[in-house]
């Protein structure tokens, strides 16, 4: 359908229009009700259940206030710390000359950000859990101190490990946009390092930093698996987990509805605020061609920076390093018996969900492209909101609502896995959408007139478009694959009891403190994700050479 749509919307002058295929382009509009359908069914499921309505009294309950307070507290600290720590590292990275090291470091940062949450959680437990490697050292630092990973400590650490690398990447990217002329001017004016920071770097960091803070804040606000695994009791529950608990534990629909609406309004409101401030930072293009180094570095200073960065890199790697001893388990047959089926299922799930969400995103983009050409910006904004609404609709609310809706209607023991695939695809559409959008719009801006004037037929036109968007398409595919393969929240609700995915296996193993096996499974999942990112990036780079112009799109 996607292909047909693209042919139709682009080829308005083609003969296809005459043979009545024009209506097919309108078919793409259908993807809008389809994407809304999932959300609507979910809320219908929640609301129709025994006619329960939201329990607004809960809003004044000390439990609710406590949960809300904790959610805000942990997201504020998490996002603030992530951005604050990222700034000096990104600056050091920007000032560094070793391009190869830089690329590796940035690649690592990307991996940290997209790594399935449970890998990080397992690594942290192996490192800092009750019998973790580092726990005795931490406790020996302060007398009578008993370190407890569970609670705010663990949640903050996990969030920091996942989000700070992302912040480093974005801030570095922003610093790289500073034109060479600014640096040359600073040199001529003999600005002091502090003046250079305030005059040249600060404005750039400030604009990126604010948006970044907002984006990470929303991520942490919606965080589920980290809080579920490391929360450790009602004192550190977030709204997202409280929704899950209200439904899964108490089966209290009215309470869940209140929590869900609060979550939706706050997270959605925040998201709307932040996206009003500008385009989401993670879709911006990377500028690679920076020739002038910001500062004339002495070789000693450069080496020191390199050393500091290496230290930072090792810190980021620690939760992964903690998994390494489990590598010996891979030489035993037992572990393979345990992980084989989950491994295959996770890969299959990732590939299927990635394909569906990419097709869906592409289809959703067609009406937006045609509206853009007609310069209807209000409509474009509205369509974009609908297409990406899953980004701030809590996945837990959607999952459980859909569960309540489907359970009496569908045999979930049999079809649960299909629901897992479809729901995963639906949740990932916004990510695929954001990745594909800039490239497609760029294509329209650059080649639309040319295509029209050359009177290309639809097939020729599609070939050119495909070559142009292929790199973005592939890197979107790798991102969505990794996210789908790492899902826990949806599988927790719909997963059939006799099947397991790798993240779910890790959750059950880590939950029962079988840390060696959990580490081995985490390592495997990490390898699959890193492998997918690397392989698809390779393909993307290779195809980029043969494409219409060199790709500048190397972002997640």
């Amino acid at each position: 359908m996607a292909v047909i749509c693209s042919i139709m919307t682009l080829g308005k002058t083609s003969p296809a229009k005459k043979i009545g295929l024009f209506s097919l382009s309108q078919l793409c509009w259908l993807s809008y009700p389809v994407t809304l359908l999932v959300t609507l069914l979910a809320f219908y499921g929640l609301m129709s259940f025994e006619g329960d309505s939201a329990d607004w009294q809960l809003l004044t309950d000390s439990y609710f206030l406590g949960v809300l307070g904790f959610t805000l507290k942990q997201s504020t600290i998490s996002s603030f710390a992530s951005v604050l720590f990222a700034i000096p590292i990104a600056r050091a990275l920007n000032q560094l000359n070793a391009q190869r090291f830089k690329n590796i470091f940035l690649g690592l940062c990307l991996l940290c950000f997209v790594t399935p949450t449970l890998v990080v959680v397992t690594g942290l437990v192996a490192l800092l859990g009750r019998s973790g490697w580092l726990t005795p050292y931490i406790e020996s630092l302060v007398e009578d101190y008993s370190w407890n990973l569970y609670g705010l400590n663990g949640i903050l650490l996990a969030h920091l490990f996942m989000n700070m690398p992302f912040a480093i990447r974005i801030i570095h990217q922003q610093l790289a946009t500073i034109p060479d002329t600014s640096w040359r001017l600073a040199k001529q004016l003999k600005l002091s390092p502090w003046q250079r920071f305030v005059i040249i770097e600060k404005p750039v960091i400030q604009s990126a930093g604010l948006m970044l803070f907002g984006f990470i804040f929303v991520l942490c606000f919606n965080s589920f698996a980290v809080v579920l695994a490391l929360g450790g009791g009602p004192q550190s529950t977030t709204l997202e987990v409280a929704v899950y608990q209200a439904l899964k534990y108490d089966f209290n629909i009215s309470e869940a509805l209140t929590l869900a609406w609060s979550q939706l309004l706050i997270a959605g409101g925040l998201y709307a605020c932040f996206s009003a401030m500008g385009t989401p930072v993670w879709q911006s293009h990377e500028v690679i061609n920076q020739t002038t180094r910001p500062y004339p570095l002495t070789s000693q200073g450069s080496r020191l920076r390199l050393l500091a960065l290496c230290g930072m890199g090792i810190l980021l790697l620690l939760p992964y390093v903690a998994l390494l001893p489990s590598i010996s388990l891979f030489f035993t047959a037992d572990i393979w018996r345990l992980v084989m089926q989950p491994l295959l299922l996770s890969i299959g799930l990732g590939m299927t969900s990635a394909s569906i969400s990419l097709v869906m995103a592409y289809t959703l983009l067609q009406p937006i492209r045609s509206q853009l050409k007609q310069k209807r910006s209000m409509r474009v904004k509205l369509l974009e909101q609908v297409a990406t609404h899953q980004l701030f609709a809590p996945a837990m609310v959607i999952s459980v609502g859909l569960f309540v809706f489907l359970l009496p209607r569908v045999d979930l023991d049999r079809w649960g896995i299909i629901v897992v695939i479809l729901l995963n695809s639906a949740v990932l559409v916004p990510f695929a959408f954001q990745k594909l959008k800039p490239r497609l719009i760029q294509f329209d801006q650059q080649y639309d007139r040319l295509c029209l004037s050359l009177k290309l037929n639809t097939w020729e036109r599609w070939k050119i478009e495909w070559a142009f968007i292929r790199p973005s398409f592939i890197s979107a595919a790798s991102l969505v694959f990794v996210l789908a393969a790492g899902d826990v929240a949806i599988f927790a609700i719909f997963g059939p009891s006799d099947w397991s995915t790798l993240p779910w296996l890790i959750y059950s193993l880590a939950g029962t403190y079988r840390i060696p096996e959990a580490s081995a499974a985490s390592l495997l999942l990490l390898l699959v994700c890193a492998g997918a990112l690397w392989l698809l990036q390779l393909v993307a780079n290779r195809t980029a050479i043969s494409s219409v112009e060199p790709s500048t799109d190397a972002e997640p």
Binding site: F49, G129, G232, M351, T352, P496
Partner: protein
Amino acid sequence: MKRTSLFTLAASALLTSSCFAADLTIYTYDSFNSEWGPGPQLEKSFEAQCQCDIEFIAVDDGVSILNRARIEKASTKADVLLGLDDSLTQVTRDEGLVQAHGVDLSSLTSALAWDDEDFVPFDYGYFSFIYDSSKIAQPADSLKALISSNASVIYQDPRTSTPGQGLMLWVNAVYGDEAASAWAELAKHTVTVTKGWWEAYSMFLEGGADYVLSYNTSPAYHAVVDGESKYKAALFDEGHIAQVEVAAISQYSDNPELAKQFLSFLISPEAQHIIPTTNWMLPVIDNVELPAPFSSLITPKRLNFTPAQVAEQRKAMISTWRSSAQ
């Protein structure tokens, strides 16, 4: 990639549709039907008797069995709900999810004093705090002593796990109106509150805490399976809350006769011989031959509450817990 995804879709559809409906479908909790749990052995033994096909569908825990039956109502596949406990019976009955079993209960041990026309008990135990006697010489001798101490404790969430719910009843029985301050005091030395029993107990075995909430029967497991006698249950003065695990016939069962036959089987000597050493609880009939370590378990005084009390107060108790343990 599209071809692969089509293939995966088709393959998963084929794979999943290959499981046909069994003659008797039983909802239970995960560990009951795990490799080491009683499920597989019971299935084999009962299938040999009835010449039929039974299927266990496992969900997270006892509370989830109830929730699932609540959502599914008449469209449920369950013929038998197995693994609820006595604190959930009233709620289940009130929701109209079960029917009278008609099983002869005269063989049940008098210790249980069981008389319920909807639910059949299949094992029981006393909630207890387990400690490592090689580390703790003088264990707490009462719940109050434990809560006011600074010993590290792991327990389970009362909303998800039946032991957690047991502790909630226990605290309410011992502290009454002062339950809130007891929870707040306990929270100061709680390592973590886990979702289920497995998580808590595994973390305890890894050295995660001084005490873990479990059952008086847990030491028997260590003695029989690993020949380890250092794990002991602390005996509390105030008495302990007992957990009686029960099974019932679903209101919407297609095969109530076979379901009844299964419930009778559950309290037969054959099944009762399997359950204590796989589910690590006490048998509900007398004269079951058990491994020696069972005879050295603590036998606490039983604190009483009625299922009706729980049904009535559960919500308020949970609300107190989650506000005070914050």
